[in-house]
């Protein structure tokens, strides 16, 4: 799969950034079997922001994890940026995550002893990419309004600034798809709206697809489309 990942750079942009087809995920077996996702089908266009809404335990995180190559489905097919990762090995999934997707986690989780700039550069360090890393990191920080905070460690940043750095980190590898796990849950409404506004702006400006998990229905208008998930099942026409 890594060869296909390498070829991605030259390949034309696909219509869909993510295609999850009839995906099922089952945890445990026998009496302890839990169906987290059941016949889930989701198509995300290459420049589309999809908000994923559902109650706790509905399978949102499982869906996001499968789309991001953190989990493999029990059955079904997962194609991200034209690459089928359904049966990719753990090593191939690691390479896939380095190059194809970006993550923004609920609890931010920046590396605490690295500066804002270094938290972005860590993505390229992990992938062994050299060259214009610093230039791209600086451009991202500027675009996110964080140039003046580039040399500050996370401990000296506000919650909103930390979340913006996390967004920068997710965009550092120029991904096909960015996955947001409740990016506003730790922020107050005003800050949450600013972050969603930023996500909306950055994704559309870059033509990058995104799936945003959120509990907050007030944030869904920043997405192009909202998909509901209940008991592992998605809305029809998703």
């Amino acid at each position: 799969m890594s060869t296909r990942v390498a070829k991605r750079q030259a390949a034309p942009k696909h219509e869909f950034a993510a295609e999850l087809i009839d995906v099922r995920k089952v945890y445990g077996s026998g009496e302890t079997e839990t169906v987290a996702l059941d016949s889930a089908t989701l198509h995300v266009r290459s420049d589309e922001i999809v908000a994923l809404i559902g109650p706790s335990g509905s399978g949102k995180t499982t869906l996001l994890s499968i789309a991001g190559g953190l989990l493999t489905p029990t059955s079904g097919q997962v194609v991200i940026g034209g690459i089928d990762i359904t049966s990719a090995s753990p090593k191939e999934l690691t390479e896939f995550r380095r190059t194809m997707v970006g993550f923004v986690f609920q609890s931010v989780n920046l590396v605490p002893f690295l500066t804002a700039r270094e938290n972005l550069l860590v993505v390229d360090e992990i992938a062994g990419r050299r060259g214009d890393s610093v230039k791209r990191a600086n451009a991202l920080l500027e675009s996110l309004g964080l140039s003046h905070r580039a040399d500050n460690q996370p401990g000296k940043l506000s919650g909103g600034e930390r979340q913006r750095v996390a967004i920068g980190r997710a965009l550092m590898n120029e991904p096909t798809l960015v996955l947001f796990d409740e990016p506003t849950s730790a922020l107050d409404t005003k800050l949450g709206e600013q972050v969603m506004e930023l996500i909306h702006h950055e994704m559309h400006e870059r033509g990058t697809a995104a799936v945003v998990i959120t509990h907050d229905t007030r944030m869904t208008h920043y997405a192009d489309r909202t998909v509901h998930i209940v008991d592992g099942r998605l809305d029809a026409n998703s």
Binding site: T61, L70, L71, G102, F105, N109, F113, L114, I126
Partner: protein
């Protein structure tokens, strides 16, 4: 790896406790190693200083120079063995001398062939003295008198030539025999008789084969030792080595335990951030290399602190303290500590591999 180094640089306090504990262990390792080397050097200098390939003792001596006697007939047979070259006689007697008003244990070593350490044997009645005797007050041109023996004139000093912690006077074989007769009448040997023979192995011959050939040629009357075996046969050296080695290995295991506990704790604390790093594409190998780099750097810094404390002791050690810090010992200690760091770091490997990147994102539902 760069992340790991940045953490060391920016949060040195986090590694302070482990560094301090390892520095104490490094200091202990260097001190114990220095003591072992000092004791060994003080016990075996006389054997090493001759720089010969092997030593021939009588079988009944059970590898002790003091009990050994080698006759001219045996010497002739040894000289005739193919592969043996430059056979010389050697003899050793311990006594006591009053130096600067203090009774001091001094040995008299008779020899025939010089080396890079020992000049050719001096004239009758003269000796080269071990440098430790210079520290005790002996001077070139002065003399040392052992008991009732004729005083021996000192004509120079030699380094690292002691035997069983006694400083020696290096004399020719006739002076050794006459001095022995005067201070140890019961150990007197006849003319031409020596306690041991020293020899070199001719080019193209092998020491193992030559030692076996010598013992065969003397009909089992001799016990021939290579130079290394002669060093190890020095009374007390083997047991001293095994005791110190045991303590040093135990200390290294404690160092490995300190590293393993410390980094196991750090890894446990880092599980969430490692999960995130794995989620964004870091491999277990990259994360584990970071742990190893940190454990190695902590160990190297600890070693440097230990060396900085021990080095002045090596330079200014009082003459009574058998302490010698060699480059070899420094390399052995840093190698041992490095191995302990790797071994300790390995304990975290399983935990790093087990970290699930999926845990970084929500609760898994």
């Amino acid at each position: 790896m760069r992340i790991a180094l940045r953490e060391l640089r920016r949060r040195p306090g986090r590694f302070g406790v482990a560094t301090a504990a390892l520095a104490v262990l490094a200091l202990l390792l260097l001190f114990l190693g220095g003591l072992l080397d000092g004791l060994t050097a003080g016990s075996t200098g006389a054997v090493r200083a001759q720089e010969r390939d092997g030593f021939v003792l009588s079988t009944s001596a059970r590898d002790s120079f003091f009990r050994s006697r080698v006759t001219p007939e045996v010497r002739a047979r040894v000289e005739a063995v193919p592969g043996v070259s430059q056979v010389s006689g050697f003899g050793l007697t311990f006594g006591s001398a009053k130096i600067d008003g203090t009774d001091t244990d001094v040995g008299v070593a008779g020899y025939e062939t010089g080396s890079s350490v020992l000049p050719s044997p001096p004239a009758p009645g003269e000796a080269y003295a071990d440098e430790r005797l210079e520290q005790a007050g002996v001077k070139v041109g002065g003399s040392v008198q052992l008991g009732p023996a004729t005083p021996i004139k000192i004509v120079g000093f030699v380094k690292d030539t002691r035997y069983l912690q006694n400083s020696l006077l290096w004399v020719n074989l006739d002076t050794w025999r006459s001095t022995t007769r005067q201070i140890r009448p019961e150990s007197t040997v006849g003319d031409e008789i020596v306690q041991a023979l020293t020899f070199d192995v001719a080019r193209g011959s092998n020491i193992t084969n030559v030692t076996a050939a010598i013992d065969a040629a003397t009909g089992g009357a001799t016990s021939t030792l290579s130079s290394d075996d002669a060093v190890n046969a020095t009374p007390g050296v083997a047991s001293q080595n095994s005791v110190f080695t045991l303590i040093i290995v135990t200390t290294l295991l404690v160092a490995a335990l300190v590293v393993s506990l410390f980094f196991a704790f750090l890894t446990l604390e880092r599980v969430p951030i490692y999960g995130v790093l794995k989620a964004i594409g870091s491999s277990s190998r990259q994360l584990f290399l970071g742990v190893l780099v940190q454990s190695m750097v902590v160990s190297i810094i600890a070693f440097a602190i230990g060396l900085a404390v021990v080095a002045p002791l090596a330079i200014s050690a009082p003459s009574g303290l058998p302490f010698a810090l060699s480059a070899n010992r420094i390399f052995i200690t840093i190698g041992g500590l490095g191995s302990a760091a790797i071994l300790g770091g390995l304990v975290s490997l399983r935990r790093v591999i087990k970290i699930d990147p999926a845990a970084a994102i929500g609760g898994g539902t």
